[in-house]
Amino acid sequence: MSLLAVEALSKSFGGVHAVQDLSFEIEQGKIHSIIGPNGAGKTTVFNLLTGLYKPSTGRVVFDGEEVTGRDAHELARRGMSRTFQNLQICFNMSAVENVMVGAHLRLDQRLLGCMLRLPAVKRGDTRCRDEAVELMHFAGVGKYAGAEAHAMPYGALKRLEIARALAARPRLLLLDEPAAGLNPTETHEIDELIQKVAASGTTVVLVEHDMRLVMGISDHILVLDYGRKLAEGSAREVRANPEVIAAYLGTLSESQER
């Protein structure tokens, strides 16, 4: 059974049909990619799946249960986690605290315990901090474990977001352009990181413009154009699809420059 099923999903902003009548499935344990030119609706799909936007029409089924229109925090509770194309780092916190926020749902957040710093809260926090540092090492930003978030360079912040998303121990991880703005070495490291995450059993959905990265690691690729599904299938199938070549690959070099 698929982990996530999207049925006839649409979202419009005023007159703009950002996503139109889109259906697809995400299989457990695989790496899925969503590609398409800028403005194709990829980020909007992520926002719909994670509850930041409410769909105009259509259904989202996660783990066998309909979750259409649920709030983001509730979907997080069910095992969804994500990163953002435009960084969403809390610059008022330290790097490791950013990662600890990702583990929020696993911690004791009761008011009285937090106010009085009860031993259970303290122990949970200590363990959480250790795990967060470990995750930062896993994500390749271990050397910033003692840093403030605002003191970190862009490439490291991208990975800090991945560490924060992983801290939730998600079942479904959505990565929105994790390699955007990174140099080839850094991109290669992200590639390895994603494979490590997938190997640990987390289902990954990747939005990315770097075609080498996408073609190399994806089990399944969904191609969007103007909010609609243009094609889907394995890397080889998608690459051979004439419509994809016409609509997307023509603009590839342009979108890679961004």
Binding site: H73, M80, F84, C90, D125
Partner: protein, 301 residues
């Protein structure tokens, strides 16, 4: 924390007479309240322009329960905390869905409503004339003079700082700081942001209520002015001047702005102008507040 405790313990050596004790007590009470308000404004990034309303509610609840119904002050104070917490909880949900200017206006309105209720329910509150409040007694002992009040206020301030620091460095506090830093990031991490805003609003209202009760007993008299708009602005100014998202900054802000009217007493009537000017100058030159700015300079050098 230790430094604050040491300052509170040693300060009496430098306080020559009751007048100075009085100033120190007022600083301590304001500081305890502002430490709570700073959780809402500085850490969670929300605004309340009606917070003095909760001070008034706490103060009047204590005043009415002790003077009209003969309750022991401690019990009255606890019931006041519970009532103010409940009221804050009920109004918080609709209010804290708002952002920016809308939230500011809504909290402003809340403060005005509380003020009007305190003025108009004169059979209970004495209306604009205010009402007498009996002294504070605890286990048969009365807080009779400035010295006793000084130690009581010091203890309350330390507890306030301790609780605030605990909250800041807990899953709750991180959730609050996260929703300030990036609301969507907090949401996708599982933080029910509305619920957390409500929680911190209630906590800061209860801080205000406690201090409202204490002030009523200390002064021995209460008028609706304590819940007035100017008092709310004063509290926000203390947070902003001392330092947003800095508990000790809040204490410093409370100290500066409590002492200011004493210093400016010769220019009576111009205090409000001075407050306004200080608020403006802080926003322009020290947007992060006094203590965080100094701390950052110091770390850099």
């Amino acid at each position: 924390m230790l430094i604050t405790a040491a300052v509170i313990a040693l300060l009496p050596l430098a306080l020559p007479n009751n007048y100075y004790y009085d100033v120190a007590i007022r600083i301590g009470m304001n500081a305890a309240m502002v430490v709570g308000l700073n959780l809402l404004i500085g850490y969670a990034g929300q605004i309340s322009l009606g917070h003095a309303g909760f001070v008034g509610l706490g103060g009047y609840a204590s005043a009415i329960l002790t003077s009209r119904y003969g309750w022991p002050p401690v019990a009255a104070m606890l019931l006041a905390m519970a009532c103010v917490g409940a009221i804050a909880f009920l109004v918080a949900r609709p209010i804290l869905r708002l952002r920016g200017h809308y939230l500011a206006m809504a909290t402003l309105g809340l403060g005005i409503i509380i003020y009007m209720v305190l003025v108009n329910e004169s059979s209970l509150t004495g209306g604009n004339d205010g009402m007498q409040v009996p002294p504070f007694t605890l286990f048969g002992a009365t807080l009779a003079n400035e010295r006793a009040w000084y130690w009581a206020t010091g203890a309350v301030l330390l507890v306030a700082i301790w609780v605030a620091n605990n909250i800041v460095d807990s899953p709750l506090g991180r959730a609050l700081r996260a929703l300030h830093g990036s609301e969507v990031a907090a949401q996708v991490a599982g933080v029910d942001t509305t619920r957390y805003k409500v929680r911190v609003f209630v906590v800061s209202a209860v801080f205000a209520s406690v201090v409202g009760s204490m002030m009523a007993h200390y002064v021995g008299f209460i008028t609706p002015q304590v819940s007035g708009f100017f008092h709310s602005i004063e509290l926000v100014t203390m947070v902003v001047v001392g330092g947003m998202a800095s508990t000790y900054g809040a204490v410093v802000g409370a100290a500066i702005l409590t002492m200011l009217p004493q210093v400016l007493s010769r220019f009576e009537g111009y205090e409000m102008i001075a407050f306004g000017a200080i608020l403006m100058l802080t926003m322009i030159f020290l947007p992060r507040g006094l203590l965080p700015t100094i701390a950052a300079r110091w770390r850099r050098s």
